[in-house]
């Protein structure tokens, strides 16, 4: 990637993030009900509400409010939750940990299952295990996350009693318990991811296996293992890298249903709570952070693509 196209991509990322900030701000304003009554209760007098609005800046015009908030964000100050009095940047730092752990855990599980299975299935194309894996991935693709979650809770928490159904333990308290509490939600996400990764990688490996250099490698007398994992896997991984990155960016804070179902105090549940309580400052900050992660991961994937495939780096 040339410096110029890199700068152009970075510029686009900035434009997108500023637009997201404006859109979130507007979205916060169209939510029904007033923050003042949510905080002070229905019995608040008009004077109390006016005083509250003056203190939080809610009596200012919208453009002025946005300017104040966005200037703060650029200085690393995401404001203060009017509901809890907690600084939003502190809360985001706390909330980001479980979300990141969950998504990394899920991605690792998904890749650990999907990569060997896809290579094996492509190598044994048309055989019974290939057909079984294809059918399995197809059913998984059609199963919504919350259905997978409910089934897993039913089997492992209700029937077997092996794992906790909900809750989260921070790693600084008890890492083993963190692992146990994150296992079911991570498997929920991983099953859906693994199905997609399996299908994409299997198709990629099938295509690579038809290349002449694979024939040459075989003719040199390399074992199937060497051919598959050294010569076939690497060129087939490119589309997968994009997908892993996209899903990572999408799921950090985007796995709202899974976080909510398993009661994980992550970014998704934080934003969901902010929607329900009309806590604008929290909603704006969380959405902006989630969007920033998504945009930056996308940018990183583009760069990584050039590193992995020299043909792209030297094109143009």
């Amino acid at each position: 990637m040339t410096t110029r196209s890199l700068l152009a991509r970075a510029g686009q990322a900035v434009i997108v993030l500023v637009s997201v900030a404006v859109a979130t701000f507007a979205l916060g304003r169209i939510l029904p009900g007033e923050l003042a009554t949510a905080v002070l209760g229905d019995t608040a007098t008009p004077e109390q509400i006016a005083e509250f609005n003056r203190k939080t800046g809610a009596d200012q015009p919208a453009v002025e409010q946005f300017r104040t908030w966005f200037t703060g964000v650029l200085h690393g100050d995401f404001g203060t939750s009017a509901l809890t009095g907690q600084k939003v940047s502190d809360a985001l730092a706390d909330r980001a940990v479980p979300s990141l752990l969950l998504v990394v855990f899920a991605e690792v599980l998904a890749l650990a299952v999907a990569v060997p299975l896809a290579v094996w299935a492509a190598y044994r194309r048309g055989k019974a295990p290939d057909k079984a894996a294809n059918a399995g991935s197809f059913v998984l693709l059609a199963t919504p996350q919350f259905a997978i979650a409910v089934l897993l809770i039913y089997i492992f928490a209700v029937q077997l009693g092996a794992l906790p159904a909900t809750g989260y333990t921070p790693p600084e308290q008890d890492p083993a318990q963190t692992f146990r509490t994150l296992l079911l939600p991570a498997v929920t996400l991983a099953l859906g991811l693994a199905a997609v990764y399996y299908r994409v990688l299997r198709a990629g490996v099938l295509e690579t296996l038809q290349q002449d250099y694979i024939l040459a490698a075989r003719a040199q007398g390399l074992t199937p293992r060497q051919v598959l994992f050294r010569h076939t896997l690497r060129p087939s991984l490119l589309p997968l890298v994009t997908l892993v990155g996209l899903n990572f960016g999408f799921l950090v804070g985007g796995a709202v249903i899974v976080e909510q179902l398993f009661a994980i105090p992550g970014l998704g549940t934080y934003a969901l709570g902010a929607v329900q309580t009309k806590d604008f400052t929290v909603l704006q900050g969380t959405v902006l952070l989630i969007a920033a992660v998504y945009v930056l991961v996308n940018l990183a994937v583009d760069l990584l693509y050039g590193v992995l495939d020299p043909r792209i780096r030297h094109a143009r």
């Binding site: 997201v20 044994r124 059609a142 919350f146 295509e207 694979i214 996209l246 249903i257 969380t286």
Partner: protein
């Protein structure tokens, strides 16, 4: 990739007998003289896909005819049969409040299918118009359209849906509109790529040179060439729409109770999951089957039409 390579009957390149597949066969256990026979019925949808179409058709018909079918009232509680199993009175049992599961599934289908189809149509129409404009437009327009889709993609989808539906109130219309809006970027991308390459083709250039207006050119020359791709992608997105509506219903922000939605039924059943798993499992199974059927049809269509990369 030009969209018109998939003429029915032309085998896709990766299945055609060629020297390339000989090298693949060299790796496999039993090389069949270096070529792989073409699978039969390349031009047909196949039995599985027809079964899927049949299931969806029956469900659509049931949903349409729900008011005149001899079904129980989906909101009426049968206090003699709480969370009952399959019986002559209740073909698919009842839920924890004694409401007939079959009736609730059929009435829930009215919401799920309308939202899935409606959202797909909205996404397809808006996405196609914007995608063609982004592929053929000049000046600032393509950049603006692509940045707008980037913003929509970067915005956490579920939070967006929850906030907008929270603002305008949950109803079939609002749920459909929000999911449809979320579908637009996907369609823009699936349309823009082939339009970019098509707009450089001779037949388009000659139409331009003869002075054909841009809207007419798009409608008469470009659209027919990309329609198969849009339809194939749309069939899959219909399934996604049904899934997203299920998710919103599960969180309690789809059509409000007591009207049944599949997601709502699954969420309500969780309270009695340990004692009566069927209350949850039956609507889950129906939901999965519907999405599965849509995926089977979409997959067969795309294999038949050789629409590769029909993915976000």
């Amino acid at each position: 990739m030009p969209a018109d390579t998939g003429l029915a009957g032309t085998p896709p390149p990766d299945l055609a007998p060629s020297s390339a597949s000989a090298s693949a066969a060299a790796l496999s256990e039993s090389p069949r003289n270096g070529t792989r026979p073409l699978p039969p019925n390349r031009n047909r949808l196949g039995t599985g896909a027809w079964l899927a179409v049949g299931f969806l058709a029956v469900l659509c018909a049931a949903a349409l005819l729900a008011p005149v079918l001899p079904l129980e009232d989906p909101t009426r509680s049968d206090t003699d049969a709480l969370a009952a199993g399959i019986s002559g009175d209740h073909w698919l049992g009842t839920d924890a409040l004694g409401r007939d599961t079959l009736a609730r599934i059929v009435h829930g289908a009215r919401v799920s299918l309308v939202v899935g189809a409606g959202a797909t149509v909205i996404g397809a129409v808006v996405g196609t118009v914007l995608g063609m404009a982004a592929g053929m437009g000049r000046g600032l327009l393509p950049g603006v359209i692509m940045r707008l889709t980037d913003v929509l993609l970067a915005f956490p989808a579920m939070i967006f849906a929850l906030a907008v539906i929270g603002a305008v109130g949950p109803s079939t219309t609002s749920v459909t509109l929000v999911i449809g809006l979320l579908f637009v970027p996907g369609f823009v991308r699936i349309v823009r790529a082939p339009v970019l390459s098509l707009s450089q083709r001779e037949f388009v250039l000659s139409c331009r040179a003869m002075g054909m207006s841009a809207p007419r050119l798009m409608l008469r020359e470009i659209l027919p060439n990309i329609l198969t791709g849009i339809v194939t992608y749309g069939v899959t997105m219909f399934g996604v729409g049904v899934m997203v509506e299920g998710g919103l219903g599960f969180l309690g922000v789809s059509v409000p109770p007591p009207d049944p939605t599949w997601g709502g039924m699954i969420a309500e059943g969780r309270q009695v999951l340990a004692e009566h798993p069927m209350v949850t499992l039956t609507p889950t199974l129906v939901l999965v089957l519907v999405v599965l059927c849509a995926n089977v049809v979409g997959d067969r269509l795309s294999a038949r039409l050789d629409m590769r990369g029909a993915m976000l």
